[in-house]
Symmetry: C2
Subunit: 81 residues, 2 copies
Amino acid sequence: MRAKVYVTLKPSVLDPQGKAIQHSVEQLGYGGIEDIRQGKYFEIELDESVKEEDARATAERMAREVLSNPVIEDFRVEVER
Amino acid sequence: MRAKVYVTLKPSVLDPQGKAIQHSVEQLGYGGIEDIRQGKYFEIELDESVKEEDARATAERMAREVLSNPVIEDFRVEVER
């Protein structure tokens, strides 16, 4: 069973890294870009014996306690077989 | 229109950062974890006037040319209104 965790900066938090990427791609000639924000992505492979609801609970707890900084970041969890 | 780009290390490439995270969460008492891999995640906000197929093409080109290293990384693009 695999859990995917997406961690993004909260919308109110400035993202200088994303702005730098946006500036670079615009210099390279890409148009029509209003904003780029960078986040983190984790793939967590869990034991096959773990039940889906437990996998989700574990992944959410891990995302909240370890993988994200709740002061400035939001996270989203997906679980798949 | 928003494009989401997920960049992950190819399965054959070692991920020491992911291994460090795995080791840390195991020390914190999380069980049943077989593997953790870390990737990157980009949210690209495109001009409303851009058509969906053009948005996808732009995001894929950007992912291939700028956001990922095709030697060691794979990417996946999602486009949503």
